[in-house]
Each structure stands twice: as structure tokens, then as C-alpha cells.
Amino acid sequence: MLKDIQLSLTNNEIRLVRKMLGREPNQLEWAMIDTEWSEHTSYKSSKKVLKLLPTKGRYVVIGPGYDSGVIDVGNDYIITLHIESHNHPSAIDPYGGAATGIGGVLRDIICMGTKPIALIDPLRFGMINKSDHSKWLFINVVRGIADYGNCVGVPTVAGEVEFDESFERNCLVDVACIGIGLKKHLILAEARYPNDLLILAGGSTGRDGIHGVTFASKVLSEKSDEERSAVQVPDPFMKKLIIDATLEIVETGYVRGLKDLGGGGLTCSLSEIAAKGGCGVEIHLEKVNLREPDMSPIEIMLSESQERMLFVVKKEGLEKISKIFEKYDIPYSIIGKVTDDGYLTVKMRGEVLARLPAKMVANAPIMHKKSRKPEYIELYKNIKPPEEPKNLDEVFLKLLSSPNLCSREWIYRQYDHEVGIRTIIKPGQADAAVLKIPNEKFLAVTSDGNSKHCYLDPYYGAAGCMAEACRNIIAVGGKPIAMVDHCQFGDPNKVDVYWTFVEAVRGMADYCKALHIPCVGGKVSFYNEDTVTNSAIKPSPVVMVVGLINNAKYITDMSLKMVNDAIMMIGLTKPEMGGSEYYEYIHNLIGGIVPKVDFQFEKRLHKLMDKIIKKRLAKAIHDCSKGGFAIGLVEMCFPNNLGVEVDCSKIPSINCRLDELLFSETHGRFIIEVSKDNVEDIMELASKMNIECNVIGRVCGNRFKLKMNDHDIFNFSIKELKNIWSQALPKYLGEI
């Protein structure tokens, strides 16, 4: 039997399966185990390391292990959050891959009984200013997200994009989603009550997406283009109907379990609901609504056709639920029932085709991987700093138009970020999006990643992603309350790669522990490498952090607002140039010391900012990160075309050359606009908490004037800078 099908299981796993079952599984059973034990669905290589992340906290209702994390936001409301990626499919079919990625994460939100209210898209590509392939991927991924997200009626409110050569063959297409609902309607993916009915609803089951998870659990090769059938077909219209119908059905109170069909198809969903609920399930394949007539049992059990949901319902509710499906014209069929035997039983016209213990299928044995610090780490750390450029004007203008720092408007204009009428802070207005939620509170949402930092120092790089995301939340007036993470790495069987994974998780975990921010979910995507260039992506953990804002008056954006206001710098600038845009884009230099994160300092910084926000002392807040101080400051000038006069000698700093002062990406810094009357208060608060802080200049005119004592550094018109910044992306894409 075994020799007829291609398995990804290791020899050890094959032996273990035989031992656990006490018999030779048949072909269908092998295929089911193979799928469910793949890296993609089982987390077998990562589970142990992910345990480092703290998962408990005062807001947490449900932590990792379910389709979404669940947070209590008060007044009987919960929010759900999850992050997913569709990297492999998008690398081959960028439009369909990106679109179906959204479909997947939406299902994770609705299957908790909550309504999706926001999408967030962190994306990573090769250098679009050099590579036509990356340009093609980028344009079509954005279009795929737009077409799907816009149609389904969930606003895309935030995201980020990073360009780096390491993503040339393996682009990273992540998507995160936030849902909201009443706590009493929360539903878990569990089958707890024998004789409850299993209803499969939504799209029909076809041959698309078969072996999607095993496809995702290996490296891309030249042949990958032939695997386009492993990418599913998007249908946002059907998804919209499923969202509406599911939420209506959840309100009937008859639903006792809900699970989406994603990676691993029916096999995954059935074994997981049974294992989690401590029951068994029995299904009849002839009841499954098929797209093609002659599908084999293996194909039916593994199909990853999109837009399908599995409902576990009380028998009494069948009539009412059926009516709702019929109202929305959603095909559905009762495919089986919950049993009390703990087995996943697959039948076809009465004949048993497979019978496996659900817990065994759902719980792949954990793999212990070896790790070793890659040699390059120490090598790159000690490189010599580049010579200080004579013409900083040129450097600044080049940075402003670099793919990683230029305006993102070309992207977010294509996303409907208003639908749902809750987007208060919109893309481009501040460091995070702010959403109105029905309990009169506000939710701040952001995502962050930094592969350049993580490559040189995965520990501080990943901790830095958390630090930056939290600063983003704080900059709009929020308090970070939870995070989800997405770890994206190369082949975990390579010791070097695995070491970077462990270090990155450790970095995020240490930050989360110190700042009491629970991790409520996440995702791991390994094998992001290809055999064509024989290289892996840079380590790319990505985090999404959500924050709560209790009062509308605390909401702040980053635009400078009034002439003569003071501009203040909070935090100390250090010459931490490793992985900076300045080193990499200007000097073509990989190496140096990556910005460190001081956890104790971060705690004090969060407290200080909380006081500044609650007392409403700042009119604009912007975190200082990618591109450094100069880029951060100019971004604050753009919205209202207001200029500044700043003396850089006033910036609190330590051992910095001028270029380092301007472009270092040191963590723990904010630039704020303050009316002159409030300067004293802020200085006092900062000094009490032992945080460096200084007035560095004022808002005035419409020019960007930076000097060092009496020596002029920059003097540009804001309009000119804004043109360069906002036209860069369309120029790279050949539109202007």
C-alpha cells in the first residue's frame, strides 16, 4: 500500500504510526496521517520552542491552539485575532495565493462566531527597483488582496511592506484579521456531544488545493510552477455569503462547534474537532458535495477547496439552520455525526474506508531539532562602519525614495479601508490603525517585522519587532494588550536556520514577558527557501499587536498641527546601525550592531507615554524606527505640509556621528509635537522616570530645516520632499 503513494513522513514517523495502530494503515489512512502530521498543520518542529511565549494575561479568554486568539475587551465583547500566511501559493500564483490567504484567515475568525472587522497585510518581496519578477509578484499580490478584501466587505486597515533580496524567490504574504463579537456567542472548534450533526457548508469539494499543506512543507523548486493546482481558487462572493450566514446561524444558539476547512481539508478539521472535544466523528463521503464526479476518497479527504465550513450542531436546530443556508443559497450537506468512540471513521456507502484514533491523527509526535549559531553572525557583527558621506543631502533624498521607506499610498489606495464605518485612524495617518468598536472603546492595530535586523541578530531583531509594534500602538494613544506572531524561516532541518528560529522566539518571548503582553496565537511557516538560488529567506518573524484605547480623546496621529509648537525627542539615540536602511540601501553594507532592546527601559517608556497620553500633552506622536530620526520627522511634516526647524545637537544621544544621529534605528524613541505650555510637564515626567528627553526644535513654515548647532544640515521644501517620497513607489512600478 505504502509504496503506491508519496509520503512526506519520516521513517521514524512511519514506524511510529504502525506501532500506535498495531496494523498497517491503508492508503487513505496513510494519506490522512501524512497530511495531518505535516509541518504545516502539526507544528511538530516548532511547538516546543513556541511554549516560551507567555499566553496568559488579564484580557485573555482563549490563547494559542485554536483558530484564533480571544481577548476580552469589556462590556460583554470579545475580539478575536489571528495571523496567517500564503507564502508558497503566492510565490507561484501571486493573485490567487494572496486572495485565498485572506479567505483562510477570515474563516479562522468567523469559526469562533465573531465578525471580521479588519484585515492587516504584512508583505515581503525582493527588490522591486531591480527585479521584474518581484515587481510582478508585488503588483499582483496587492491586487489579489484588494479584489478579495474589498469584495468580502472587510476593510484592510494596516500592514507593512519590506523589500529585501532574500525574498526574490520566496515572497512572504501574511494576512492578519481581527474579529468582534459577543462573549456569549463564542464558539470553539470542538465536537463535545455525541450524536450532534456535522454539516459541511459552502463551496463544493474539488481537486484544487490537494496536498497544499505538504506543498507548503517543502522548499520551492524549478518544478514548483507546475504545482499551480495546489493553489486554491478564490471566491470572495461565496465567502461573503458564508460570513453572513454563519453569523446568522451562530445567533440561533444551536451551533456547538465550528471549524473552517483550510490546510489539510476535511482530514484536519474532523480530526481536530474530535480530538479537542474528546469525542469521535463518523462521516459518509457520498454525502460530500463534490465539484467533480469521480474524485477518490483520498482526494475528498485532502481537498483544500476554499470557502467551506464545518458546523457541529444540535439535532433540534437542523431545520432552522437549513433555512438560513437556503436563504443565502449556500450548498450544505449533513456529512456525518459526532460519536463517543474517539475515532475518526470515514465511510462510503456504508463501507468503512478509514478508521483512526482522532487524537493520534491530530497530535503529531514532536520533533527535536538541532540548532547551531550560524558563522556569519559574529562575522557581520564586527564590520567597520562606512565613511561618513560628504553629501548628506543626497543620502537623505535617496533614503526618502528607497523602496523600504517611501510612501505606501500606492498600496492602501487600492484597499477599501473604510467599509464597516469604524476606521478612525486610516492608513498613512499614523503608526497604527484605530477602529471604533461597539463597546464605546477603540482598538489600535499594527503589524511589524524587520528581516534585516533579524538576519543579523534574530534575538534582538525579533524583540525589536515587538518593541516597534508596541510603540506604534502607543503612538496612537493605545495600550498594548495582546499579540499574535508569525514565524517565517527556511528549512528547519538546517541547524543554522533552526537556531535563528529559536533565537527569534526567545526575543519575542522575553519582550512579551517583561511587558506583560500575552501571545494569543500564531503561525509558523518553514521551508521558505528555494532550490533555484539555493538560499533561504532572512529570518522573518512578524507580529501583530492590538491595543485598547478607552476614550476617543486619547487618539493621536502623527501629523504636525500648529506653527510654533515644540518638537521633542524622547529616548536616547545610539550608533546601532546594523540592518539599518542607511547601511543597506546607501552603503550596500550588511552588518554591524543591531539596535538592542532594553526591557526595563521599555517598561518605563510605556509608563511615561501613558502619562503623556492621559494628560493629553502631545498633539502628534510618531515612533522613530525604520530610516531613523530624519525620516520619522519628515513623515510628520507631510500630512499638513508644515515645516520644522530642528537643532540636532539637542537630540539626546551617545557616541553618534552625524549620519548615525540622523539614520540610526535605535529602539525606544518617539518624536512628539507639544504646545509650548506643556514642555515643562513632559520634561519633569521624563526626568522622574529617568528617560532622556529634550526639546529639539519647533514647527514653522514649510521647509525641512535641520542644523547642528550653527551649521546647516538640511534645508528642503516640504513639498519637494513629499513629491519624492510619494512618487517613488509608482515610479518603481513604471506608472510615472
Binding site: 491586487r143 484588494a146 479584489d147 474589498n150 469584495c151 468580502v152 466587505g153 471566491d235 470572495p236 462572493f237 461565496m238 461573503k240 455569503l241 436563504k327 443565502y328 443559497d329 492602501y412 489606495r413 487600492q414 484597499y415 477599501d416 479601508h417 473604510e418 467599509v419 464597516g420 464605518i421 469604524r422 476606521t423 478612525i424 486610516k426 495617518q429 471604533k436 476617543a552
Partner: protein, 237 residues
């Protein structure tokens, strides 16, 4: 005053429109599933934005042929105020309740953006209390919003005062720069000859609460309030 907001499969601004209407005194908004057949019980009808039937085939065309549109046509002939927003506008055009066509944006991309429009006529129920020549800030979000009509018919639009909104710049001029999608003569909204059926690409329901507006405005609300005042006037006559 009872307003029907019709929900087609794939509508996605229906609940937003209901929410915006519910904040206006004396308005009772009702979400009406497209299979409902008692539209005559309402005082006005709104076709909300979204992607009815996934916008498959062509934006708005499938919904335009759904049974409920027969009732909408009858009621339109009887003079009931009817507003189509975005996809609703596309449906009204495909149903031949409004002239012209809505083509793909000239950028060939979806555009989500706050724009400024000028009120060109106040003879419709939806602009009744607005001043002709006044300005509104309302966001657009569409892929197929480029209004087109042959030159000869365009003349008629002017002749019969059927242009309701035009995209304008900060100086109030319908300039090329202010035209987000390439619409002919910067047209953002039109009405039928009688003036009771209005279609517009911008989303007033998204501009009805100051907290949602980058300008702290509530210009969208004015369109709904206008309808209420118009209905009050009609009932007094």
C-alpha cells in the same frame, strides 16, 4: 419615516447605511432581503454599496435583473425617492433607471479615498436642503466608477438638470486633478429626469460621523437629512 435598505447577496455597505440612518431622528431604517416583496410599505429606498453577486459578469448587472428590481422600477415611476450608492448606483444604471454607464476607473485600480464634491442641483430629495454650489467631503471606494455617457446624451443631462454631484478640487473647480476615476465632466452623481432617483459613487454613510472623517465633517449625513426634510415637506403639501 420608514426607509428600506435592500440587501442583495454580496452587498456590504447595508449595515453601515442602516447605522448612519439610525442616528437621524424620526428615521426607521429597515434591512430588506432581496426576496422581500413588500417594498411599497416604505417611504424611500436605498440600494447600498458592495459587490452584489460578487460583481460577477459586470458590476451591478445581476442584481439589476433580480425580481425585487421590478418593484423598485414601479415605485420609481410612482415618484418614490430612491438612492443608489456605489454598487447601488451601478445597479440603477444596469436597470435602466438612470442613464449612462459606469466603467472601470482610468487607473484600472480600485480607489479608496476621500474626495470633495460640489452639489449641482437641489431639486432631488437627497439634495433638497443643500445649497446648490455647496461642497461635501465624502469618501469613494470603487473599481468601476468612471461615469460615461455619449456627448449627445450628456447635453440632455445638463438640459434637464440631472447632474447632482461633481468632483472638485480645493478651489471648488471640477479640475482634472480632482477627478479620481476619469468620469466625464467630473460627474460623481446623477438623477433621472423626474429627480426622484439618484445614483452616486461616493459613500455618504461613511461620512456621517465626524469621528470617521479626516476633516471632522458630517457631510454624508446631510444627504440623509435632506431626504427626511423633503419627505416632511411632501407630507405637508
Amino acid at each position: 419615516m420608514r426607509i428600506a435598505v435592500i440587501r442583495f447577496p454580496g452587498s456590504n455597505c447595508d449595515l453601515d447605511t442602516i447605522e448612519a440612518l439610525s442616528k437621524i431622528p424620526n428615521v426607521e431604517p429597515h434591512l430588506i432581503w432581496h426576496e422581500d416583496n413588500e417594498l411599497h410599505k416604505y417611504d424611500a429606498i436605498i440600494l447600498p454599496g458592495g459587490f452584489s453577486y460578487g460583481d460577477y459578469l459586470r458590476a451591478g448587472i445581476i442584481a439589476a435583473h433580480s425580481p425585487i428590481m421590478k418593484q423598485v422600477k414601479n415605485l420609481a415611476e410612482k415618484g418614490m425617492p430612491i438612492l443608489g450608492i456605489c454598487n447601488g448606483f451601478q445597479i440603477l444604471i444596469e436597470a435602466n433607471l438612470l442613464p449612462g454607464a459606469l466603467l472601470r476607473n482610468n487607473s484600472l485600480k480600485f480607489i479608496c479615498k476621500w474626495v470633495r464634491v460640489r452639489v449641482e442641483t437641489n431639486r432631488t430629495p437627497f439634495t433638497y436642503t443643500l445649497n446648490k454650489g455647496s461642497f461635501l467631503r465624502i469618501p469613494i471606494a470603487h473599481n468601476e466608477g468612471r461615469y460615461f455617457i455619449p456627448k449627445s446624451e450628456l447635453k440632455d443631462l445638463y438640459k434637464y438638470d440631472q447632474i447632482v454631484f461633481r468632483y472638485v478640487d480645493e478651489l471648488g473647480k471640477p479640475s482634472n486633478k480632482a477627478n479620481p476615476n476619469g468620469s466625464i465632466d467630473n460627474i460623481a452623481g446623477i438623477c433621472n429626469r423626474e429627480g426622484n432617483v439618484v445614483g452616486m459613487m461616493p459613500h455618504p454613510e461613511r461620512a456621517s460621523q465626524s469621528i470617521l472623517s479626516p476633516y471632522y465633517t458630517e457631510d454624508g449625513k446631510k444627504i440623509f437629512e435632506s431626504l427626511i426634510n423633503y419627505m416632511r415637506m411632501v407630507s405637508l403639501c
